[in-house]
Symmetry: D2
């Protein structure tokens, strides 16, 4: 398990090499993570007694900001690594609009839109509807990881173009899922946030690929992942140098069959305590029943989530996928009103 050496923003390559050499001389493995702002060096395999000694020595090296010992299995995602919360600024790259959204701050963020992009008309209608109700970010699936190979798999590149148009028209940033490491750069051209779905939380090749991307990534919890495993998956992305990771609780698999999944509300305060990363809750997948979505969305906000992701479809009865868990625009607008009152009572805004 590594100690973490955080290099200062202005550290030179020489500074970095010096630290690496010192670590290797003591027999450590090295994990180098070059982010936009700074470089982080993980020293893998250090023995506990040596750690302390080496740690204090390294802090005196030029270009070293601090050396951190972290007892948790996950490192970069932990509060020990970074006590203050991560706030991620999202701007619609395509529209060039002013402003933008900050995820992880005082304002609660709402991502909304249809499960899948089904047609130009559908996504534009949905985009305007969620925009008018006050959503911050437009969701819509272009590539769908479906349990059945016989189900709708998404309109793929065509859908990305439609999302682009919706973003240009409404000024909303876009979040959309990527399911293939070979598509990351293509999807990054369109998406403002890359989504990793629950079925790919342990697709480590994909995590590494989005770790090399320069777009924020929203990492959904695997449906049978413990919180610890979820944060380890976040570390896969963070280690690649991409520090803009957003977590998303979307329900876990339990014995209960009345709901599609069991939304783990405990995970909201628990993960906010363990990690500095922003946390979004998805009550649509977490319940699998549209009539439960509003209540669970309220619960998520009350529990301290940084935002919610909700499926909204102009006509759920015509949806190609997951219509039974999608809100109509009117119900979504109603929910937004409730959430605003709730956010105010909690000292936040929305």
């Amino acid at each position: 398990m590594p100690d973490i050496v955080v290099m200062a923003p202005g550290a030179t390559q020489e500074d970095i090499d010096r630290v690496i050499a010192a670590l290797q001389a003591h027999g450590y493995g090295i994990h180098l993570s070059r982010g936009v702002e700074r470089t982080i060096i993980g020293a893998i395999g250090a023995l506990d007694e040596e750690k302390k000694l080496l740690g204090s020595r390294l802090e005196a090296f030029p270009g070293v900001e601090r050396v951190i010992t972290i007892l948790k299995p996950y490192k970069l995602a932990s509060r020990e690594f970074q006590p203050e919360p991560t706030v991620i600024a999202v701007k619609p790259a395509l529209s060039g609009a002013e402003g933008g959204v900050r995820i992880g701050g005082e304002k609660i963020v709402v991502m909304a839109g249809p499960c899948s992009v089904e047609s130009r008309g559908q996504i534009l209608e949905a985009a305007w509807a969620v925009k008018e109700a006050g959503a911050d970010i437009l969701r819509g699936g272009a590539y769908k990881p479906s349990t059945s190979p016989y189900s709708f798999r998404g309109l793929e590149r065509e859908a990305l173009e439609m999302l682009k148009e919706a973003s240009l028209q409404t000024g909303l940033p876009i979040i959309t899922e990527v399911i293939d490491p070979r598509d990351v750069s293509l999807v990054s051209e369109y998406a403002d946030i890359l989504q990793i779905g629950t079925r790919n939380m342990t697709n480590y090749m994909l995590l590494e690929e989005v770790g090399r991307a320069r777009k924020p990534v929203m990492l959904k919890r695997g449906m049978s992942a413990k919180m610890e495993e979820w944060l380890l998956a976040a570390d896969y992305i963070l280690l690649g140098g991409n520090h803009q990771v957003i977590l998303c609780e979307r329900g876990i698999r339990t014995f209960e069959t009345y709901t599609r999944f069991t939304l783990d509300i405990n995970a909201v305060p628990a993960v906010k305590g363990l990690s500095h990363l922003p946390l979004i809750v998805d009550p649509s997948h977490g319940t699998g029943k549209w009539e439960l979505v509003a209540a669970v969305a309220r619960a998520a906000v009350a529990a301290g989530a940084d935002g919610i992701m909700v499926e909204v479809h102009p006509r759920p009865e015509e949806a190609l996928k997951d219509g039974y868990q999608s809100l109509r625009p009117a119900a979504f607008a109603e929910l937004m009103k409730d959430l605003r009152r709730l956010a105010a009572a909690l000292g936040r805004s929305l």
Copy 2:
């Protein structure tokens, strides 16, 4: 599966016998449930075709209020049986104080107190602390169903006496658990609400016994019970003629090990939709970590629970049981303030 014949409040024994005779003449089994207000007759084993015919005939019988066909496996607990919510008035029998608490109405009810009654001093201190913070009902275990036979099992009758004194002093009604069908009448002398714990949700002999009691019963969800099974357990009590049943979600068993249980927040709107019974949420057991209790309590209220049950201990570090999930009085008072703001934003009071 039965049809339900609801007799009118003024129905005579003769009226009842006439309905029973008619049902038996058609080969039905009979389940008679005599409540305080009215008698309900379940006709077990009716064939679907016959049901309709018989149903419309029976509605013309004297003393019959209505005949209901319910497709759900649970009957008396269902919204089909009773569309309007059940509101249960609880009064501290012992203190004879004015007022009382109504569970299931507009006001959100707070039950608080220590896991177990440990001493006279401890329960009095706890009772005053929760009373001052604004709790409505005092909780405290006299009989503890412990996983280990070597753990603290409760002070039993002695604890009931201490609870009585705490109730007399503070005017708070008492909720306490009963774990043995042979103790139901004893515990009923002290308790204002009888609690059935998660480990006894499928102890049907105990359910039947509290179904014959004339005290409200709070039925905790079994830790691996589906919502449907939980409502069937409620029917066991309701069938005994005791219509004052309160449900309590307290977390289910899942693969996650960071928390003791996974509180099923989905169950709050789901069960409120399926059943007319009031629903309380227990975030102390549902998380098993005191630092998560406040956030999950807020979530429960935001999701539409009729109240919460919280473990509060004057000095959690000295608690004989479950100290790690108990709030200190100061943290509880803080939570009460948060919940009041939240309730107001939701159009309820607390």
Copy 3:
């Protein structure tokens, strides 16, 4: 957590009192368990440092056989407490027949019969069928703990009489479930083994009551009980002085819905390693599908179970309960042949 003082078979009351006095003088709580063969004294709450000192002192007391320190939460059920396997001799009390069955020895024991006793004819037919196929013990439910209060609940005392007749005719000992602490002495008059069902594994009042009975008890695993909790439940019975406890793995609740439960085959070698108690496997409840029963029964025997419990009904399609998981007599006879070959290959008999 207690140390265990095992008194020698001939220890006098005075010997026992002396040990208790010494323990109490050191501030320990006492748990006294008087078995048929010997008395066991649990010292609750001992501090670790004191334990050692006291332990070696106590071993010198008259009448003390040995003092055991056990680190596991369960004590009497553990291999540390008793390294050699417990073998339980079951004899049909009613028939007075020669012989009898030994559970936990080299021979694999087969318990078979219908889920519920439905009529005199049904149970006699079933009893003869399983006897002829080579079963050792007849099962049949008289009191049924049903999830629904509207389902068949058993013929109760009448069924006990029918079981008695079946036992007298066939010479097979009887196992039947008891669900109410108030019925333990009645059921003990008829049953050769008392069964505690999965829904009552945490009904500690019932466990204590059968702990005072002088009949073997088969304790089914709770459907969401960890192995450790199951062994703690066994300790509840053992602490009462009843050392004839048989464990029964019957499937746990998981997310899989194709089968009714997931039979935990890992638990067979695991629990046999952790505990000296005999272990039976119930593939009928563990799968909930008759077509899977034979394969899983074979697996249980191959994994090292001491026996199996199988539901057999003369005409499953007419069964009042669980017909879909019951074998026909012919299929059961076929299974017995397979199991005999398998047992021989494993160096056991059946």
Copy 4:
């Protein structure tokens, strides 16, 4: 949901086009799966009434072997699609040795070897040890999908070379995991069977890629996958035209924490009944404890598995990964002897 049109082995492209045109004329979507032996056409989205008509018409088309309607969500993996069991012949491509292994036939197949290839010496030693004990296939991980990015990730290409040498020396075919769709062709050059691990069962891009490979694929069950979802994942591979799919049960995630996973023994007869594909059981991952492996391996064989996969390490205490679940060569040899006796008693060989 599609109907399946199976073309006869000699069908021409013209025959295929004619069927496709007819289906498209009726508005169906088409899923074409070209296997080595024959082409299968899935007609997606057919309405039930039309299906029958069209089905009988299509059977008269030249080159059409049969038209199948399958009610299960999975199609190509189902027994309805192919009643007779699939038997897969595996030959060590590299060694050019005579013979080979048949998976899914009368003989029970044993795959054994270390979790990961750690060094040339380690894999050669392990290969010879399992070969001598009678294993059929050598396992060894070159690419490891580890929950933690700080754990050992495999020697990758270097490990493939070492496996090649071990295969050449011992004549054992090799099974090894592939975790990246971009590596499928590289790994296919070395492996005789491609393994898809539990963490990638829902990595559909990877499934599609191995569906285009011409090597057998062993698909491990996702740790929270229902059997139905597992068979749907198999359909992803089968639809690509690769009909050599082997299933592997390796334990599911449950609440039990004493074992790493809960091996689902029910799945053995269940999946053998639902699907024609061969089924292997992995008791090493399924238990996570070496001392339980032998008992659960015996259970798997007794339940009807077509083989087992077992982790064997020359010195488990030095293993870089999963040493606690690896057997020593001597214990593995002992297990092989037990399994041989067991297989004989079941009318199979090993």
